[in-house]
């Protein structure tokens, strides 16, 4: 009898010791959070990781490059007009003898800045409208959605061209040549591309609103604004992040298309699209004047698209994590 209880006691002790060991180990590893899982999933997508590196490299290059590279963007030298790529001029020179590498680096700042700021505007607008619409429902929802539908029916390219052409002179006069154009282009792209984001956010809000933890938040007395911003919004951000990333690529392409049509930044501001617009007439004689700016756009947008794809895989709530 004593033997049996003794063995039971030692069994209990053993299980208690095992439990303590296991609990101790729990503290040893980092806890799994939503974001850490997403990062792990993202790292599996090799092309997305490659894209991230390329994108970071491009961003650092355009920020630091103009400080490091000795040649300027406006050094005119007709003697060296249209020389092929060489050690001295890695991308060659353009028709006025300016170093193309410096111009591509400097122009990259503007092109990428336009992409990022335009997306910030459209994401903010879209998230605000989508959140209000999804959260309040009812009349607010249907009114806002009618507005979104109407905005979606606007023909984007004709309006883009029209507004830029009509308002660019007055914007330039008010804000200065480059800043005025920057505000105009960024504003227009932002204002015409927030609609899909609004729909995404609204859909997320509609589904998250019904979940139990929101009900619990109401029960403990959380205010409406804290529920919107602290509880629902962080969970709705997944598709928004993906849309934002892809939106930067789309905005870069839109800006370069506008510049290519002559309706973008003023002359001598070497954004990548503008470089293609200025140099396309010399293509027969100097292929590098067209190929390098175009490849810059291509590389930037490609890496952005891969990163966006990786983010979509990583942040997809339906994906089973392993």
């Amino acid at each position: 009898m004593a033997e049996a209880t003794g063995s039971q006691a030692s069994a209990r002790e053993q299980s208690a010791a095992a439990r303590d060991l296991a609990l101790g180990q729990l503290g040893a590893k980092k806890p799994r959070t939503l974001w850490r899982d997403a990062v792990r999933q993202f790292r599996r997508h090799r092309l997305a990781v490659a894209g991230t590196f390329i994108l970071l490299f491009l961003i650092i290059a355009v920020i630091i490059g103009p400080y490091v590279w000795p040649k300027g963007t406006g050094e005119i030298n007709f003697a060296k007009s249209m020389t092929a790529p060489s050690a001295e001029h890695p991308f060659g020179t353009d028709d006025m003898g300016r170093d193309l590498f410096a111009r591509v680096l400097y122009g990259g700042r503007i092109s990428i800045a336009v992409g990022i700021v335009a997306v910030i505007i459209s994401m903010s607008l879209g998230t605000l409208i989508g959140a209000l619409s999804g959260f309040f429902g009812g009349f607010v929802d249907s009114a806002l959605m009618r507005f979104v539908d109407m905005m979606l029916s606007l023909p984007i390219l004709p309006l883009l061209l029209l507004i830029i052409y009509l308002f660019r002179d007055s914007m330039r006069q008010r804000f200065g040549l480059e800043i005025g154009m920057f505000i105009l282009i960024v504003g227009i792209i932002g204002v015409l591309s927030w609609m899909p984001v609004a729909r995404l956010v609204r859909a997320s809000f509609l589904s998250i609103k019904e979940k139990e933890f929101i009900e619990a938040a109401y029960c403990i007395g959380a205010s409406r604004s804290s529920i919107i911003f602290k509880h629902i919004l962080p969970n709705a951000l997944g598709p928004v992040i993906v849309a934002a990333t892809l939106g930067v690529g789309a905005a870069i392409i839109t800006e370069s298309s506008l510049s290519f049509l002559g309706l973008g930044f003023p002359p001598d501001v070497p954004t990548w699209g503008r470089l293609l617009y200025d140099n396309k007439d010399y293509m027969e004689l100097a292929w590098w004047m067209v190929v390098f700016p175009g490849m810059a756009i291509f590389l930037a947008v490609l890496s952005i698209n891969y990163v966006g794809d990786g983010l979509r895989d990583a942040l997809d709530p339906h994906r089973t994590t392993s």
Partner: protein, 328 residues
């Protein structure tokens, strides 16, 4: 279903009104003046210029101008109530004539591009999905990423560089005078030679985006139960794919194509600029730069009608093809 269509069509009308109001207001609010050359002209005294502006109705408040424009363009189009069709400031010819002249060209390039895109996207997308993660799939996915990351004007320039400048096979300027010739073999060849690059540029971009959608849609369908049932019944795999899966997978793709169609036509703006095709896109840019308000107004409004129309078409097709959708 019929009631749904009717309701949507009726809802589209106020949308179009609002859109036309927005476009008109943008044009009206813009600084700059279609009669600025008149104002600059020293031979024209200011009172005369003012009188001309008043006669043309440029001094009226915006709602009045909008109402006048609306009545004159709708009635004038059909010659009712003594109104004349809208004429361009630049060429003094009726706007619709210019549009009618350029429309076939734009349709030829954009339409063929869409067909090319579909013809490429469906086989490639299906094969990619059926053999997921195979070498074909990886190459195809990479190529599609390349396809929609590269701006259309860069593709166009590269093609011109390769085929016109280095190789000299294809002309890079589209000669519209070629269209008047008769239907001989050499004419067909010449027409094809000058059209193939713009069509390829547009079509490959379309094809790249569509392939992604086809692949995603196929992948969604391949895991569903009915596919397992079909295979269990002993059907050959190719029948399972082509007769059962493909139809269901193509439903969202069809709606996407319908939604993207107006975008293709506006996207042709850039392609027409590179290859100098005198189509609707060129007309839009030229008339914006020339301050030719009637043409800009008409074209912008036409594009809006296209967008609204194709949105409606996409909804109807989706409801018709997918029996699970019930529109109340």
């Amino acid at each position: 279903m019929g009631r749904y269509i009717l309701r949507r069509a009726l809802a589209a009308i106020p949308t179009l009104f609002v859109i036309s109001l927005i476009i008109f207001s943008i044009l009206a609010l813009a600084p700059g003046d279609p009669l600025s050359d008149l104002a600059m002209n020293p031979q024209v005294p200011p009172e005369v210029a003012q009188k001309i502006r008043q006669d043309l109705g440029l001094e009226d408040p915006i709602p009045v101008r909008y109402a006048k424009w609306l009545t004159s363009s709708t009635f004038g189009q059909f010659g009712l109530f003594g109104y004349e069709p809208l004429t361009s400031f630049r060429s003094r010819a009726p706007v619709m004539d210019q549009i009618k002249e350029r429309l076939p060209r734009t349709l030829w390039i954009s339409g063929t591009a869409v067909l090319l895109g579909i013809a490429v996207a469906i086989p490639v997308g299906v094969l990619s999905a059926v053999r997921q993660y195979s070498l074909f799939d990886q190459i195809a996915t990479t190529l599609t990423f390349f396809g929609f990351s590269i701006p259309t004007f860069f593709t166009g320039l590269l093609l011109i560089l390769l085929f016109s400048i280095k190789l000299g096979w294809l002309p890079f300027i589209y000669r519209s005078t070629l269209e008047q010739d008769s239907w001989t073999l050499s004419w067909i060849v010449a027409m094809l030679k000058q059209s193939v690059m713009p069509i390829a540029v547009l079509g490959l971009f379309q094809g790249a985006t569509l392939t992604r959608y086809v692949r995603a849609s196929m992948l969604e369908n391949l895991h569903l139960d009915y596919v397992r049932t079909a295979r269990a019944k002993g059907l050959a795999e190719r029948h399972v794919i082509s007769r059962h899966v493909l139809r269901n997978a193509l439903i969202p793709v069809v709606t996407i194509v319908a939604l993207q169609l107006p975008g293709v036509i506006t996207g042709a703006v850039i392609t027409e600029q590179i290859f100098r095709v005198p189509g609707l896109g060129r007309l839009l840019i030229d008339s914006i730069i020339n301050n030719d308000t009637p043409v800009v107004m008409t074209l912008a409004f036409m594009f809006s009608i296209l967008v609204v129309f194709f949105n409606l078409v996409a909804d109807i097709i989706y409801g018709w093809l997918d029996p699970r959708i019930k529109y109340s």
